[in-house]
Subunit: 327 residues, 2 copies
Amino acid sequence: MARAAGVSQPAVSRAFNPKASITKEKRDRVLAAARELGYVPNVFASSLSKRSSKMVAVISGNLNNPFYSESLQVFVENFQRTSRQVLAFSVQDQQSSDEVMMEALRYPVDGIVMTSAKVTSEMVKLSEGLGIPVVMFNRSVPGTGLATVQCDNRAGGAALARRMAAAGARSFLVLRGDPQGSTSQERVAGFRDTLAALGRLDLEEIEGGSNYSGGYAAIMSRFNRPAPDWPDAIFAVNDIMAIGCADALRGNFGLRIPEDILLAGFDGIREGQRHPYRLTTVRQPIERMVSETLDILDQPDGGESSLRLIPGDLIPGTTVKARGEFL
Amino acid sequence: MARAAGVSQPAVSRAFNPKASITKEKRDRVLAAARELGYVPNVFASSLSKRSSKMVAVISGNLNNPFYSESLQVFVENFQRTSRQVLAFSVQDQQSSDEVMMEALRYPVDGIVMTSAKVTSEMVKLSEGLGIPVVMFNRSVPGTGLATVQCDNRAGGAALARRMAAAGARSFLVLRGDPQGSTSQERVAGFRDTLAALGRLDLEEIEGGSNYSGGYAAIMSRFNRPAPDWPDAIFAVNDIMAIGCADALRGNFGLRIPEDILLAGFDGIREGQRHPYRLTTVRQPIERMVSETLDILDQPDGGESSLRLIPGDLIPGTTVKARGEFL
């Protein structure tokens, strides 16, 4: 290879390392020789001794929820920076997470990041047996001992409840997310318990389907009737549902937010902070959560059982305000 | 393995095939044995004879542009359905596509889908030499002979120009995208040529940076002055820029769309069709574009040089209307 290109051995390595310094002319010569010989350094071959494929499986929920696509973008950027790559999986509606995880285990991955849904303890044992670390991202599965990186969902739900109560709300509606997911359960529990402690017991919970159209449809089916009994405040457990909810409230019922009804979401996705919404919400610190996940994967013992609970950031936004603040 | 689990050889295969029919009890027994032995069928090993890794590299632009995350979701769904997987790359702002493609070539991928930016002919030759088919998705690189799947950008730009002219617009502003990208160039050319043929020559073009904040900032820096000279109509060459543009027009200048100014985008992303925007735009038929891409990758000769030009769908929306239609 070096001979064919008429360069030194180290120059060949440098030519294939996008970050290495090498003249364009030399790199071109190496590439031409590589083309001739059909040769490119294969990461699997070069890392065989280290038993590392430089690939990490990331199993996401539907990427049409911006929280997942924003997280995936940060994962791809961070892995690429360390010369690793994301093997992308997504859990389809009709699929179980176990099925997708089994598919992922068939590739020689260095680790699995699970950002969606839950896995059974059988799958956890299988991955352990194979020596493949698994990190739950924004999910926890109690009793499995899986390494988990999570925003403090309970504290976030509690903070939003306090804010709504302080703004004078006395009746509340909660749009729940995935009924099986720990994330939704914890946010709702934090919200509910805090209101109960404040003596605000007028709380109704309905399913919101975890996506835009689910949030929209939940509002339509609950209130599309004569003289609907509007609550003072609505908490959608994720931003994309809150956005669907806001569009239904304004577009179909002509309600103003926050003048007629208060609204909060959770996640802090970009779209929720744009001009039409400016949601009151809790931002998940995705950058920090991703770097904690990488840190766990880099530990020699792989995904040691640990829970890294990271506080979210309350974003005041404009959708929860006391009457005096906007009158 | 079969012996350890006390099942037949075919039962072992079925246990690892998420789609195969097998009793839960049998599968559990096989999984327990696999865990014991640290064994899982590796796709690379089982497909070595076919020289297929069952992985396809998808090189995307930033996933915070919903066009890329929506496309990636469709790629992941479609590949997963055929037991293949997406190795996800994204081109960072400061990176060249060549660099990322070289990184992708280091993995044993069955093909490369390039949804962003352009590659040099040197890289094309290298991938050809390696026998790895490359498909350009929503991009073309003239002169490389690369297989290309593309929405008819020129016809789409032309359709939007006709619609704006028919609505009575006489002065136009274009927010361009990636100056190096064929996509933006073709949309602008279709728009410009059609207006010229209609005798509408009052056309200004500025850079919009291809993302939300670029669209927002372009409007601010162009018009944040006393008595700004507003055009009748603005064409942002992608929806995410059009959304940034709409937020700036309404949020900062109090303009109404379409009453005070007409606006069109391109792509047909979900966010652009929600209540606050309902953009007049051209939808790229992502599902069909992805299945054409898979079809090319499945051809025995790999990415034979072909151009598949697919018409986009004009979405009337509410942001381009003739005065009579909203007065």
